[in-house]
């Protein structure tokens, strides 16, 4: 088992798309699992989604391969005016202590968790995609407006302790956050002009770029320190026949250290080629390309940065409408420049004594429509297993807008 945990811990690069208390734990009438003194969860989620590009593009972009021109042209043709790609990844070890009375209240349990988290997004205009992937040959005599373009990518580790209600699993966890890295580009205005002869390119950018200490790498490297709160508030109605649930994750911040940098850009570059006159007449022996960063007028500040963590807020409603079935709907808010609110509706069926099967339709987030499914198994004795995907079609259809997987393993002690 220790080997399993170690392997899982090392390999966990997965995504908690919208991590919440598993429905099986909320809805199960079998309380045997709560009778144990402690429950440990190990899990991870990974999800990437887009409303503009497909899984084939994402897979080749991330894992390598040749993006053929026909596919790129097709993506550009269908691309919405505001394109977005986002991802979340998470691996977590969580301990729930059911044993003791805490603060004299037998309902309260103690929760401890460690997780490593990754999240990022990019939102861009189709013209930017076209210029980068299809080129500028078709844009002669035009100034292409490529912006706005927003990009953010960050990683952090959380060490949390909290309290939870043993009955409803509502709870609050306060975490110490170790920032691993942070990158943010905000290009409000981005343009590329190609002259008719293609003898002049003019690139304009207005925006800023923030990044954390680049001299450090790895988990908990000291680049940043912060705090965050995760909470769940589950309200059981009609003796548990209906449940309304509110939850939030990563409501907090990271204070990135003094070696962090902020670049402010308000610049335009005009490129007409290298002047080779002196090379031709022998005045100089060699010529080299100028460093574009030298020409881009930026203001650089090295200072501490305080940045929020990418929080998610979720509301859901579960309703048992048959003995072994319930339906669920909810909404997930990810307040950033790329994501839109994600809404979903789904059904869960208890297909065996401790086995639940769910299916779900989603819309929003970083992507558009998607179909999800999961299976949960809660053994009375000691185990809980949950596996699923919020974008199942991404595993079978190359034109799907994303891919998702999550896997949780719980064990009672």
């Amino acid at each position: 088992m220790r080997m399993n945990i170690a392997l899982a811990f090392l390999c966990a690069v997965s995504i908690r798309t919208w991590a919440q208390v598993p429905s099986a734990l909320l809805l199960s009438t079998d309380t045997a699992w709560r009778s144990k003194s402690m429950m440990a969860f190990l899990g991870g989620d990974a999800a990437i989604a887009s409303n503009a590009v497909d899984v084939s593009f994402l897979e080749k972009s991330l894992l390598g391969g040749h993006l053929n021109r026909e596919s790129l042209e097709a993506l550009r043709e269908e691309m919405p005016e505001y394109a977005r790609i986002g991802y979340q990844a998470n691996a977590q070890l969580e301990l729930l202590n059911f044993r003791d009375t805490l603060f004299g209240k037998p309902k309260l349990g103690l929760r401890a968790a460690f997780s490593t988290n990754y999240a990022g997004y990019i939102t861009f205009r189709p013209q930017a995609f076209e210029t980068i992937y299809l080129g500028n040959s078709q844009s002669r005599s035009q100034s292409e407006s490529l912006g706005p373009l927003y990009f953010q990518n960050q990683a952090w580790q959380k060490f949390g302790f909290g309290l939870f209600d043993k009955n409803t699993l509502s709870g609050v966890t306060l975490s110490l956050v170790e920032g691993q890295y942070y990158r943010q580009l905000q290009a409000e205005d981005l343009s590329l002009y190609t002259s008719a002869m293609a003898d002049t390119l003019a690139f304009g950018v207005v925006g800023s770029y923030d990044r954390s200490d680049t001299t450090r790498s790895g988990w908990a490297n000291g680049s940043g320190l912060g705090a965050c709160i995760d909470f769940d508030y589950n309200i059981k109605l009609d003796n548990g026949k209906r449940i309304v649930s509110f939850s939030a994750r990563n409501v907090g911040f990271v204070a990135w250290n003094e070696a962090s940098e902020k670049y402010t850009m308000n610049s335009s570059l005009e490129w007409t080629g290298m002047d080779v006159s002196e090379w031709i007449n022998g005045a100089i022996d060699s010529i080299s390309m100028p460093e574009w960063r030298d020409s881009l007028k930026t203001t650089r500040e090295q200072k501490a940065l305080v940045k929020p963590l990418p929080a998610t807020i979720q509301v859901r409603y579960l309703h048992r409408w048959k003995v072994n079935s319930f339906w669920e709907t909810g909404c997930v808010f990810t307040p950033n420049r790329a994501a839109v609110p994600l809404v979903y509706v789904g059904m869960t069926h208890q297909i065996a004594k401790n086995v639940w099967l769910s299916e779900r339709v989603n819309y929003g987030g970083y992507g558009s429509f998607s179909i999800g499914a999961e299976v949960q198994w809660l053994s009375a004795k000691s185990w809980f297993v949950r596996a699923g995907s919020n974008q199942l079609e991404g595993w079978v259809l190359p034109m799907a807008g994303g891919r998702s997987v999550y896997l949780n393993l719980g064990k009672n002690f």
Partner: protein
């Protein structure tokens, strides 16, 4: 589901996820890019060495070759040879002599410089040493003074003073030293003051007045004094330098200065000026036998024809007045009206050859021994060619190779390079570009035409013409441009209306821009 089953499945699922998330290869895509690579301005002064180009007041370019045919090294005829003088001064007395006693030796003497041709009266030394060595067998301290009244520094005569010591362990006293001759004047008129190649000197020997002991002279004692002019170099000389004959056979190679083309060239108003400058106080006579050129490519030679240049030229001696030299200069203008100079240059020569002879003092000692020379400014001959770039060109062919890079560049491009030219010269060109691989030409662009500028209402300012040259460029061709495979640029020039000449002016140039247009494979994640 059993616990043991889970122990197998869970790690496998995680490993599967991890493996599926690792990068397997770079991400690549083909992007159609258009953009500038380079630009510049070409003018004649860039293509030809700056020192060769001059614009006149109208802006017309002139190609100027200013070459020295020869510097006659006349200083060799007046150099003092290495000379060694050994004198033995016999002491005609025997016995003990008190301090201050003057020994009776012949006090004066004359040193003769053996020069084969020159009769020198006065020289100023540039460098060299007067080395000396003295040997004394006398048991005591002698004060020996050797004075050369004619060897002066700022009019102060130079002398050598030596205090001898008694022999030790049976060995005579020996001492050596030298005088640095740099900057010293040397009078070579001898004791009489009217001779030549003679140096007057005095030698005196006294028992050292400062000594506390007498000097004991034994029978047969003699003092030996040896002097040597070692590697003497003269900066100025006066006298009669003799009569000398020199062969003149000079060759000037232009191929390194300018890439001479082949083809038919029509030049106008060319001129050449031969200049002879004599800053030496000797008469001279120069007799040019032949001035010719040679075109290495066509292996043709043209001899210059001129009515007077090939007669013996008498060069009058320079005059000296209180150290100031009035040099005599002779210029011989050769132009298209008094010679075949246009045809001479239209041969597009790569070499010039001048043959003849030079005589120094052809009439002998006509200046009564008052020839003079400052060796850093002697007799020079040279020529200056002036070729106004008014020319008519018919298929003037230029070819050059260019090594763009040492290593084969890997540029994943499939398309073309577009060269835009705005030609301000009234010359049209046909350009071909090749990669030379194993002696074979790989065609990049063939016979691409660059239009000539067209005449306008503004004098000497034709309206530039624009041309586009498309050069094939793909990854395979670009990779061939390495150390072994240079780029060959082949240009054929033509002036519309040739052989009628057109002028090339300083306000004319070629602007160019190099643009890439094609499919470029971009990649990241390697």
């Amino acid at each position: 589901m059993k616990f043991s089953t889970l122990r197998v499945i869970v790690p496998m699922l995680w490993l599967l996820m991890l493996a599926s998330c690792s990068r397997r290869e770079p991400t690549t895509w083909d992007s159609e890019l258009s953009g500038p690579i380079a630009f510049g301005r070409l003018s004649l002064e860039q293509l030809v060495a700056d020192s060769l180009m001059q614009a006149d007041e109208s802006g017309l370019w002139h190609l100027i070759f200013d070459e020295s045919l020869t510097d006659f090294e006349l200083d060799s005829i007046i150099q003092i040879p290495d000379t060694t003088i050994v004198k033995s001064y016999s002491l005609f007395v025997v016995g003990d002599f008190a301090p201050g006693f003057t020994l009776p030796i012949a006090p004066t003497q004359q040193i003769t410089i053996q020069h084969p041709t020159a009769q020198l009266k006065q020289v100023r030394m540039k460098s060299g040493q007067l080395k000396y060595r003295l040997r004394s067998p006398v048991d005591g301290n002698l004060k020996c003074v050797f004075t050369i009244p004619g060897l002066t520094l700022n009019d102060v005569p130079q002398s050598i003073q030596i205090i001898t010591q008694p022999p030790q362990n049976g060995d005579d006293f020996v001492t050596e030293g030298f005088i640095d001759l740099a900057g010293l004047e040397l009078d070579l008129t001898g004791e009489s003051g009217s001779s030549f190649n003679r140096i007057a000197a005095t030698f005196s020997v006294v028992v050292d007045p400062e000594s506390s002991q007498p000097a004991t002279i034994s029978p047969g004692d003699a003092i030996d004094f040896e002097m040597q002019f070692a590697d003497p170099r003269v900066s100025y000389a006066r006298g009669f330098f003799g009569t000398h004959y020199y062969d003149l056979n000079e060759q000037v190679d232009f191929s390194a200065l300018a890439n001479m083309p082949d083809g038919v060239l029509n030049l106008e108003e060319t001129s050449m000026k031969f200049t002879i400058r004599n800053a030496v106080g000797v008469d001279a006579q120069i007799d040019f036998a032949e001035i010719s050129n040679y075109n290495q490519l066509t292996q043709t030679s043209v001899s210059l024809e001129h009515p007077t240049l090939f007669n013996p030229l008498n060069i009058t001696r320079a005059q000296e007045n209180n150290g100031a030299v009035n040099a005599y200069e002779y210029d011989y203008e050769v132009n298209s009206s008094n010679s075949n100079l246009d045809a001479f240059f239209e041969n597009l020569p790569t070499q010039f050859q001048v043959q003849g002879d030079v005589t120094i003092n052809p009439l002998g000692n006509v200046a009564d021994g008052n020839d003079f020379i400052y060796t850093d400014d002697a007799l020079q001959a040279g020529f200056k060619m002036d070729i106004p770039l008014k020319l008519g060109m018919q298929n003037i062919h230029l070819a050059d190779t260019l090594l763009l890079t040492n290593a084969a560049p890997e540029i994943p491009l499939d398309g073309s390079l577009l060269l835009w030219l705005k030609n301000g010269y009234p010359v049209e060109a046909t350009v071909s570009l090749y990669i030379i691989e194993n002696g074979q030409r790989i065609n990049l662009a063939y016979n691409k035409k660059i239009e000539a500028a067209v005449p306008s209402n503004i004098p000497n300012t034709p309206t530039p013409s624009e041309s586009w040259l498309e050069i094939e460029a793909n990854e395979v061709l670009i990779a061939k441009l390495n150390q072994d495979n240079p780029l060959l640029i082949d240009v054929v020039l033509h002036t519309p209306g040739a052989p009628v000449a057109v002028g090339l002016y300083a306000n004319q140039f070629i602007d160019f821009r190099l643009i890439v247009d094609g499919t470029y494979t971009l990649q990241y994640g390697e």
